[in-house]
């Protein structure tokens, strides 16, 4: 049996994972938001189109889907979408800021038997969290974790390090453990979307990152077997250098049905309003080798500022 990274997407009939940004609306205005969320995207997938995509996910036996946004809990029929996938045994993760999770929603999530609900918590206290997550309420996010946990939902916390909060990594891991969540996930902030615009005030220094990873490694040992502490040590450029050689078996669907190669690149390899998921997957497989994509990655490596263009879509197929 062979593991992971040797998977060649050309051998696969369909993706293994769909990351689906189901909306762009958001109640917050996070300084670091990679999606620049907070508006309604024109030309969103209709209800009919949405369910056609869901049906194709089931038909292609795609095992794992994540709903993100924007804030996915502002989507008008998110629960119906969840129910559809779960009825068909597709594993599902919801990524949310947690602010709309009350007892009733936590119970609904529990009944769906989700792979997990992932709550963004960008501080061990309200100060750092709310400085980064404009309009955000730390108490609501932590209450969401408690409610979900109390209903038996597999709950994860995501922490994005910035200059404001990076020093709180040890504290937030301890706090996550006190909440009894399944795990805490972190990694370097990506220089895309609003994070690119606010890069100078957000990006931690090398020294801060060094301390951050030292603490993470200590906490990893401390919580071994008790709580999952996991982190991705690479930045966006390192990730792209790797992905250009070994693309992930996943598609990133945005609210208007366009499908991106990966968050940090502007390239779009299809449109689910016009094409089937299978056709888009076949496009995806050949997209990474296109000179346009490879050359852009080369340019990014020399000029990381170009990452700011990740949300300006460039169509690879006409």
């Amino acid at each position: 049996m062979d593991k992971n990274n040797i998977i060649n997407i050309n051998d696969l009939e369909a993706p293994l994972f769909i990351a689906w940004q189901i909306n762009a609306e958001c109640n917050l205005g996070c300084l670091h938001c990679c999606e620049e969320a907070g508006h309604s995207m024109p030309d969103k997938l209709s209800r009919d189109e949405t369910f056609k995509v869901l049906e194709q996910i089931v038909a292609l036996k795609i095992p794992y889907v994540a709903f993100s946004g924007g804030e996915p809990l502002l989507h008008p029929y998110i629960f119906e979408m969840c129910e559809f996938l779960r009825k068909n045994s597709i594993d599902l993760k919801i990524e949310t800021n947690g602010e709309y999770i009350d007892e009733k929603k936590a119970e609904r999530f529990a009944s769906l038997n989700l792979r997990s609900v992932q709550i963004s918590l960008d501080g061990a206290t309200s100060v750092a969290h709310e400085k980064l997550r404009l309009g955000g309420n730390w108490n609501k996010a932590t209450n969401a974790c408690k409610l979900l946990k109390s209903k038996g939902v597999n709950t994860e916390i995501v922490f994005v390090p910035t200059k404001f909060n990076i020093h709180e990594i040890g504290q937030i891991i301890d706090f996550a453990y006190s909440l009894g969540v399944y795990g805490i996930y972190t990694g370097k902030i990506m220089r895309i979307g609003r994070a690119a615009q606010n890069w100078d005030i957000l990006c931690p220094s090398d020294e801060e990152y060094k301390e951050f990873f030292t603490t993470l490694n200590e906490k990893l040992k401390q919580y071994d077997g008790k709580m999952k502490v996991y982190f991705y040590p690479y930045d966006v450029l390192e990730e792209l250098k790797y992905r250009r050689m070994s693309p992930a078996a996943s598609l990133l669907v945005i609210p208007n049905g366009k499908v991106k190669l990966i968050g940090p690149l502007p390239f779009v390899c299809g449109n689910l309003k016009k094409q089937t998921l299978k056709q888009v997957w076949e496009n995806y497989k050949i997209s990474w080798q296109k000179p346009q994509v490879q050359e852009f990655i080369d340019r990014l490596i020399k000029e990381p500022k170009l990452l700011a263009e990740s949300n300006k879509w460039v169509e690879l197929f006409h």
Partner: protein
Amino acid sequence: MKLKKFVKTRDEKFGEVIFDTLKEKVFVTNETGKDIVDLLQQGYSSENIVRSLSDLYNKEPAEIQNDILSFIDSLKNNSLIEV
């Protein structure tokens, strides 16, 4: 023995993909691995899997036993199955 709750499989031309969605780890296996996983899912014990596959492949149990047991061990070591 059966696959854990968040372990999914999908047939592919080369055999099968085994995806632990909780750990976000993917494994691939060939047709024989796929046959073993199918039988595990149906509740077969290791011994019965060896017997059943020796019939299916028309081979002596002793000839295939080690490979089958070591494959089942690798599923266990990667926490993909619960006993």
